[in-house]
Amino acid sequence: MPEFEKLHQAVLDGDQKAARSLTEAMLAEGVAPLDMITKAMVPAMDEVGRRFECEEYFVPELLLSARAMKASMELLRPLLTASGAQPAGRVVIGTVKGDLHDIGKNLVASMLEGGGFEVVDLGADVAPEKFIEAVKQSGAQIVALSALLTVTMPSMRTTIDALNQAGIRNQVKVMVGGAPVTSQFATEIGADGYSENASAAVQLARKLMAGSQA
């Protein structure tokens, strides 16, 4: 279907104007919002992630694509909510305390949104109490933690410990990531999952959701 392809291309090109106007046009024609997400947005962001991995795309291209996707999502999200469609899951995400690196975290947040998740983004340098508060308020099933500094990796552990102490650790799955983080470290600190990049993060979140319902 050429329209889906055009929307796919607009996201891939990071063209937010085209993404928005194509979305509007498709909605006017009666295309289902969920179809646009699954047939255009998700595959486009997957491709963006793939190009980033093989160094065809760099951070500017990634952020442009994420912005184009958001422009389209802004039109679709209210319709999805109104139609009663359930999000794939609800995620609270943030970069841990002491750490100001947020580009990777922003990408993971965008990809999760593109993957149909509802995302509460707490920003960077987020204290454990903030995560707890946000989980309680939003009823999120997943907490996603990002860290780019070796010195702030321990903040991931502190945050998980704080979730435990607040008695809500078993209500949520915790996923972690960021350049210095490894799956071994994730296991050590009692996280439920680790992924190396933003597109794998979406797969991981889906897996965790499936696990949490089982």
Binding site: P60, R67, A124
Partner: protein
Amino acid sequence: MTGRERILAALDGKPAGSLPLMPITMMFAGDFAGVRYFDYATRAEVLAEAQLRTAERFGFDYVSAISDPARETADLGGAVEWFDNQPPAIIESRALLHDKSTLGRLSLPSPEAPGRMKDRVEAIRILKREAGNDLLVEGWIEGPCALGADLRGLNSLMLDFTDDEDFVRALVDFAIETEIGFARAQVEAGADLIGIGDAAASLIGPRLYREFILPGEQRLTSAIRAMGARSRLHICGNTRRIIGDMARAGAGMIDLDYFTPLAEARAACGPAQPLAGNIDPVRTLRDGTPETVTEALEHCWEESGPLYIVAAGCEIARGTPYENVEAMARFARDHAAA
């Protein structure tokens, strides 16, 4: 041969005795000297003392006034968050150029006016006075992409490259003017070499780097050369896709992070370019042993061939065991620069 002579000889492609040793230290030096990093970053005499003691203890060939990326931004009026024992950080959500039109109203900061830039110039003066005959004295400035990101906010700058090319060009121009002034003040105070830190440039890919950033870096290195000083281009992060272009920046030495194999850098830069680097500062240097450090350096040296300068990919991390740093120093001493 003194450390200073060794580095200068190596940069000129002349016999340098043993391999020059130039690893970056900031928090490691502050911790070694037992000072709070807040003081290290704000008091020239504290930084200078810590650098001198660290260089003496570990046998480095140089001392440096590098401390954090926020000196220029702070003097320009940008919001900075301070920590007790960690480098200050620029607050991106309150970026000085959040509104792009502010750029037109910014005037160039003066390294002579009281402020954080002046404090660095003062540190250079002390380092030159205390050790300038024996050790090379390094000044430090932000590169055009880094300062652009500091002022505008990295996330916004990444989109500006596509949304508003004219703004990016004006921002790079402003950054270059600022940094030429800052470099000059440091050279006049006694710096032999100016390090240019341009970390954000590792994120943008070859097309944008070539078009917007490389020309700025070229202007900086040639201005520094005209001042009679050398330059060190340090771009943290993965530079494999831009190393071929970095080779044309005109830097006296290119200092590589651990992502880029030195063999690739050597192939891209040719036999006449001094290269520094690039063992993994965390996995190898901090978490390894003297044996793994030595082994990793063997590998670097082999890949680089002549005109090799011993260093880690980035700053020696806080908490790095002293014996691992000693292993680095031993490696440099024990190997004759070809």
